[in-house]
Symmetry: C2
Subunit: 253 residues, 2 copies
């Protein structure tokens, strides 16, 4: 069923007017009519059964009841990526990363980033990525809309707060390091915030790693194969889901 | 370091002429000279240190010694996908699936496949996908080149042999099933062949699931979020790597 995210804080018992974009989608893609069922996610991260209340003059929906579905990871996950070279890579990262449960995305200019987003570009690029995130969140039945920001350099990322901080480092993988990711994911407690940092195509420099380690980052390998810049965060998120949503679920039964 | 796959069965102590494509890559992308170091993977799935022996009249390489690196999963993994709608999706599946360790890819026409590859298309499409696989295998430092085939229907997939067979089914996920994937991955023994089957955009039909279950397939959920057709195999491969290459590695220490 089609799911729309609306900015309202809590359940409203009056018909809600759909924002322009969703109204357009409802009319042209869904071909919605009065009575067409929908799922609406409000800012409380709850999913509500709803239906189209009116089409003319503007589409409105009426929320009926709260549903018990929750598709969120038990932890908050920040995915911070050194800016990749092509525009397709950030798009793939936020699209697939949203499906895989990320809470927040950060792109930052790292030492080996070849591309650069100037201030004018940033606003436009983030707006485009936010649209991709919204589409992926609707489709994957998320309860929360991931957010995104751009930071000018690694130091700004280091200033971000998180309970647990990891950096995926190719050298860790080359040295056959296999324990850190497992130990870290196994030690997470519900509600914690995990920040995972990934380099651009050329990787993270030694100086950046030293800076990160000093700031409390653990450096982890993601298995024996060399993963591309855009594949590493997806591997990480899938491993996180497997550990927290499948393995841990089995243990608590 | 650049890695090339060559079809030779075993170590050869004479200079080997590079096939046309690699020769072209060596000259135009790498700008190789006599003495440029390379890694060569032979059909024995071993990696060899090598260097460029001559450039004129045709590029040849001399293999020097076998390296001990192995980036292969301890099991053989067949990824079978119902033919997706767009050409980008099979490309993404084989590219990322190669990075994530798959052994063999199968695309088949399932009940809800919208696109169709006629015989003329099949040869061309497979050739293009093979090139993508080769590039991804070189880049991710695989020891073996994944293979690919097209099968006309689900019955042809059902006839494939494997020690363990799984189907990722959205309904399993919706019912909150979380145990099958974990149990299956934990029970794998080195050298076994695992076949994992995924539907196209519209999913697998009830009739197809019944057919697969009768053929010994287990139906598994991949967590609480709805994954797109091309994301599900990547989630599966990352979870497999996490279980076999990180979690199990920790246990044996």
């Amino acid at each position: 069923m089609q799911r729309y995210f609306l900015p309202h804080q809590t359940l409203i018992t009056q018909p809600i007017q759909l924002p322009e974009e969703q109204a357009h989608h409802l009319l042209t893609v869904l071909r919605g009519k009065v009575g067409t069922p929908l799922e609406i996610v409000l800012a409380d991260h709850c999913v509500y059964q709803a239906e189209v209340n009116a089409i003319d003059p503007v589409p409105t929906v009426m929320i009926k009841e709260r549903l018990a579905t929750d598709a969120e990871l038990p932890v908050q996950v920040i995915i911070a990526c050194g800016l990749p070279k092509t525009k397709e890579k950030p798009e793939l990262i936020v699209k697939k990363g949203t499906e895989l449960g990320a809470t927040h995305f950060v792109f930052f200019e790292s030492e080996r980033s070849i591309s650069h987003w100037d201030q004018k570009k940033v606003t436009k690029k983030l707006a485009r990525l936010e649209k991709i995130i919204e589409g992926a969140a609707e489709q994957s039945h998320r309860n929360a809309l991931p957010t995104i920001e751009y930071l000018p350099n690694l130091q700004a990322v280091v200033n971000l707060k998180a309970d647990v901080k990891l950096v995926a480092w190719e050298e860790s993988a080359k040295q056959g390091e296999t324990a850190i990711l497992v130990k870290t994911l196994q030690s997470l407690r519900p509600g914690q915030t995990l920040l995972a940092l990934f380099g651009p195509e050329g990787g993270i420099t030694e100086a950046e790693i030293a800076n990160l380690k000093q700031a409390g980052y653990l450096s982890a390998g993601l298995g024996p194969r060399i993963l591309r810049a855009e594949t590493a965060p997806l591997y990480f998120l899938a491993a996180l889901s497997y550990q927290l949503e499948l393995l841990n679920a089995g243990k608590s039964h």
